[in-house]
């Protein structure tokens, strides 16, 4: 194991280093994924570019119609930020169940996204919220949709030299709510067997104006359940309609058998959790009105 750790003094220095080292360089955020990969000898980077000192990447900012989350915001910072109460609460609900206390104190949202695990918990609500990722390279900065960013297990459209700088989440319209549910083999300190994030907006007549459903750990990347979303939009959200959405979502995912669970069990979980997450959104919208 041999590498050099660089401590850039600014974001532009960090990006310049990444550009210089290309595939031999890696950004180091909390290190909760990266250091373990290095210890397991799955990864041999020669140059680690330590982002820890870049306070500007930690900010969580209310920019009016959207929230801008710096890549270095920790799971703990998201869990505790008042901006993620109310309609965006699914983000706090997901951040709160990442690993244990110690992992949440250092693990970052940027690492969760860049690592591109299909089971990444915070990615599910971000996808349901149609988040956008800001990528900064030495030459240019671009803004891409999170759903386009995720390319496969551990794969993204990020270029070697590009830094995930921040993630942007639009504030949902009035009469919207979100919810996140996670199933693991135990209640805490567990990677998701399945996780589900939902976002609903109701119209004044109580019909579904918009629905977004994201599923984790049931395909190569965190995925949207679009057939289920379409079935909900325009409908009155009766129990039957919610149950159908669960069945459609279960039909659309491609889970695998692994050490944590069988594909069949994962599908059953999707079928059960999707209606439950949607029902929670409905409760939250009506609860807030009264």
């Amino acid at each position: 194991m041999s590498f050099t750790v660089h401590h850039p003094a600014s974001v532009s220095d960090a990006v310049a280093l990444a550009e210089r080292y290309g595939a031999d360089g890696r950004f180091l955020a909390g290190g909760t994924d990266l250091i373990i990969q290095i210890h397991r000898k799955r990864l041999a980077s020669q140059h680690l570019i330590d982002l820890t000192g870049l306070a500007e990447l930690r900010a969580i900012e209310d920019a009016g119609d959207e929230i801008r989350i710096g890549a270095l915001a920790t799971h703990k910072a998201i869990e505790r930020n008042p901006l993620f109460q109310g309609a965006l609460v699914a983000l706090a609900e997901a951040a709160r169940v990442v690993g244990g206390h110690q992992v949440r104190n250092v693990g970052t949202v940027g690492g969760n996204i860049a690592n591109a695990s299909p089971a990444a918990d915070v990615v599910a609500p971000l996808l349901a919220l149609e988040a956008e990722v800001v990528l900064q390279g030495a030459a240019a900065t671009r803004r891409v949709r999170l759903r386009d960013f995720l390319a496969g297990p551990g794969r993204t459209m990020r270029g070697d030299g590009e830094l995930v700088r921040e993630v942007h989440v639009a504030k949902p319209p009035p009469r919207s709510a979100t919810a996140f549910l996670k199933a693991g083999r135990r209640k805490a300190m567990e990677i998701s067997v399945v996780c589900v994030a939902a976002r609903l907006t109701l119209d004044d007549a109580g019909r579904c104006a918009a629905a977004r459903i994201a599923l984790g750990a049931v395909s190569a990347t965190t995925m949207r359940a679009e057939a289920a979303e379409r079935a909900l939009e325009g409908a009155l959200l009766t129990d039957d309609v919610l149950r159908d959405a669960g069945r459609l979502a279960a039909g659309a995912c491609h889970p695998i058998d692994d050490v944590r669970a069988s594909a069949r069990y994962r599908r059953l979980l999707v079928e059960a959790l999707v209606p439950r997450a949607l029902a929670r959104c409905v409760e939250r919208i009506s609860g807030r009105r009264s």
């Binding site: 041999s2 050099t4 180091l28 290190g31 000192g53 110690q102 104190n105």
Partner: protein, 161 residues
């Protein structure tokens, strides 16, 4: 092997060190400095016995590079109380019989401290305490007495310690 100079603040004392880039904070604490309170076990952030406070927050020192701690303050169990003057959590652990072999206890107490400081101003529920120590495993006690001890301190101090 290359060594880089690194100054670390540990339990309020500055240590001037020469470290290899891949050394973890846990390795530096135990092997270089000789503070053996933080334990070494899974080395993958699963068990919590290596927990220390970094800027007041519980972290797994087994997966933290020493170099990531540049300019930050580290507290280990050795820096929390002395045998003459125990920290309230240490006293409560003794009072409630929450220690058996003791192996997990440094990590457990520092995890609890970080959690109580975070919930400062209110008394966390038993379920919250249970979740807070979910990344810190004890193979002896069955946790009940540990939770009793933490809950007692939480009630006395309204969270913060």
């Amino acid at each position: 092997m290359t060594r880089v100079p690194l100054t670390l603040s540990i339990n309020g004392e500055m240590h001037e060190l020469l470290v290899a880039p891949h050394w973890t904070l846990l390795y530096v604490l135990r092997t270089v400095i000789g503070l053996s309170g933080a334990k070494e076990n899974c080395l993958e952030a699963e068990c919590g016995v290596c927990t220390v406070l970094l800027d007041g927050k519980a972290v797994n020192s087994c997966i933290l590079l020493a170099e990531q701690c540049r300019g930050r303050s580290i507290v280990t169990i050795e820096g929390l109380g002395t045998s003459g003057q125990l920290h309230p959590l240490q006293e409560a652990f003794i009072r409630h019989g929450a220690v058996q072999c003791g192996y997990c206890i440094p990590g457990m107490i520092l995890t609890a401290k970080s959690f109580l400081d975070e919930t400062s101003g209110r008394v966390p529920t038993r379920d919250e305490i249970r979740e807070a120590i979910s990344g810190t495993l004890c193979r002896c006690t069955g946790y009940q007495k540990i939770i009793d001890a933490i809950a007692a301190v939480a009630a006395e101090t309204k969270g913060g310690t």
